[in-house]
C-alpha cells in the first residue's frame, strides 16, 4: 500500500489499519435459535433421552454459543451492530467508514442505515439517503459519497452506521460444533467458579480446534 494513499488518513486511507471507527455497539443478537441441538448435547453428556434438564442445557448452549462467537469474532446467527465515527473534518467528499472485523464474512453485511448529526448548536440525527452510500464487501466498509456540509462540529461521533451481519456458515462446521460440545461439557461439569483441585486442559481442545477459524484481529 503506497503511503500516498494515507494523505487523508484515516478517512481516505486505502488500508484498514488503523480502523477509523470510534466505538462499536452490539444492538441485537439472536438469543433464541439453537446452535447445538439438544440431541447433540444429550448424546455428548450421555443423558440421551433424559430430558429433565433440557431447559438448563439450552441455557448452557446459549452461553457456549456466545463464548465461541466472541472468541472467533463471527456471528453464528444474524447480529446487528451500531458503529460510531468521529467527524472526518471535511464534507462533500466521499469517505470510507470501516466496519469492524466482527462483520467480515462470506455473505457480506446488510447496511440498515447510515445516520449523521447535523445542525449546530442543536444537532439532530438524520438518516442519510441510501443513494448516498454503498457497501464495499472487498474492503468491508461503507463508502459514503458525500456527507452533509452541516455535519455537527460538537457531537463526538456524528456518523453512525447500523448494519446486520448474516449467519456465518462456519458455525455449521463439525469441528467448530465439536469445540462447542467440549466447552458445554466443561460448563456442565464445572458449575462453580472455584475448584479444589487443579484442572488441566486436554490436548487438541477448544483452542486448537478453533484456531484455524479465528480471524486475526488487529
Amino acid at each position: 500500500m503506497s503511503i500516498e494513499n494515507l494523505t487523508l488518513a484515516p478517512f481516505f486511507a486505502a488500508n484498514r489499519n488503523p480502523f477509523n471507527y470510534a466505538k462499536i455497539e452490539q444492538v441485537n443478537r439472536d438469543l433464541m435459535t439453537e446452535w447445538l441441538t439438544l440431541e447433540q448435547i444429550t448424546q455428548q453428556l450421555n443423558l440421551v433421552d433424559d430430558e429433565s434438564q433440557d431447559s438448563y442445557l439450552s441455557s448452557l448452549e446459549l452461553a457456549t454459543r456466545f463464548a465461541i462467537e466472541d472468541y472467533l469474532g463471527i456471528s453464528m446467527f444474524s447480529t446487528q451492530y451500531r458503529i460510531y465515527y468521529g467527524n472526518p473534518g471535511f464534507f462533500s467528499n466521499a469517505i470510507y467508514l470501516d466496519l469492524p472485523e466482527v462483520s467480515a464474512g462470506y455473505n457480506g453485511v446488510t447496511i440498515n442505515e447510515v445516520r449523521c448529526y447535523i445542525g449546530d448548536p442543536n444537532p439532530a440525527s438524520v438518516t442519510i439517503n441510501q443513494s448516498q452510500y454503498y457497501y464495499d464487501p472487498t474492503g468491508n466498509r461503507v463508502v459514503v459519497k458525500s456527507i452533509p456540509n452541516s455535519i455537527s462540529q460538537v457531537i463526538a461521533n456524528p456518523l453512525q452506521v447500523l448494519y446486520t451481519v448474516p449467519a456465518n456458515f462456519i458455525a455449521q462446521y463439525p469441528i467448530v460444533q465439536q469445540a462447542g460440545l467440549l466447552m458445554l461439557t466443561h460448563l456442565y461439569n464445572n458449575r462453580s467458579n472455584t475448584t479444589e483441585t487443579k484442572l488441566n486442559q486436554i490436548p487438541f481442545g477448544i483452542e486448537q480446534l478453533l484456531r484455524p477459524y479465528k480471524s486475526l484481529v488487529m
Binding site: V48, D49, E51, S52, Q53
Partner: protein, 114 residues
C-alpha cells in the same frame, strides 16, 4: 488411561399391583434411555440340594439430574435395564457435589435345577 465406556441403559417404571385372581404382578414400562458407567460388583451363586440360584450386583453411575433424583427418592418405583436384564435398585449414593449418583442394583436369575 483407558477409554471410559458408557453403556446404554433404559430406566423403567415399576408398577406393582394385584391381578383379577389376586396374584401380585410387577409391570415394567420404559421411562427414558440414558447412558451410564457400569461396574460389576459381584456375582454369587447359592447351591441348594436341588437348585442353584445366581444373583448379581452392579454399580451404575448416572449424572445427577431431576430424573435421577426422582429415582433416588423413590427407589422402589424404578428399575434399570442393562444388557437385556432388568436391575432393581438396592442402594444409592449421591456424590456431595450433586453431579453423580451411583445406584447399587441387583438381579436374581431364575433358579435352575442342579
Amino acid at each position: 488411561m483407558g477409554i471410559v465406556r458408557y453403556e446404554n441403559l433404559t430406566v423403567k417404571n415399576v408398577v406393582n399391583s394385584t391381578d383379577s385372581v389376586g396374584e401380585y404382578t410387577t409391570t415394567l414400562t420404559d421411562w427414558f434411555l440414558t447412558r451410564g458407567l457400569v461396574h460389576d460388583v459381584s456375582n454369587t451363586l447359592r447351591i441348594s440340594e436341588r437348585y442353584r440360584a445366581y444373583s448379581d450386583l452392579v454399580n451404575i453411575t448416572l449424572n445427577y439430574t431431576p430424573n435421577t433424583k426422582e429415582m433416588v427418592d423413590n427407589q422402589n418405583l424404578y428399575a434399570i435395564n442393562w444388557r437385556g436384564f432388568d436391575w432393581r435398585i438396592s442402594d444409592v449414593r449421591e456424590s456431595n457435589d450433586r453431579m453423580k449418583i451411583t445406584f447399587l442394583c441387583y438381579r436374581n436369575d431364575p433358579v435352575v435345577p442342579v
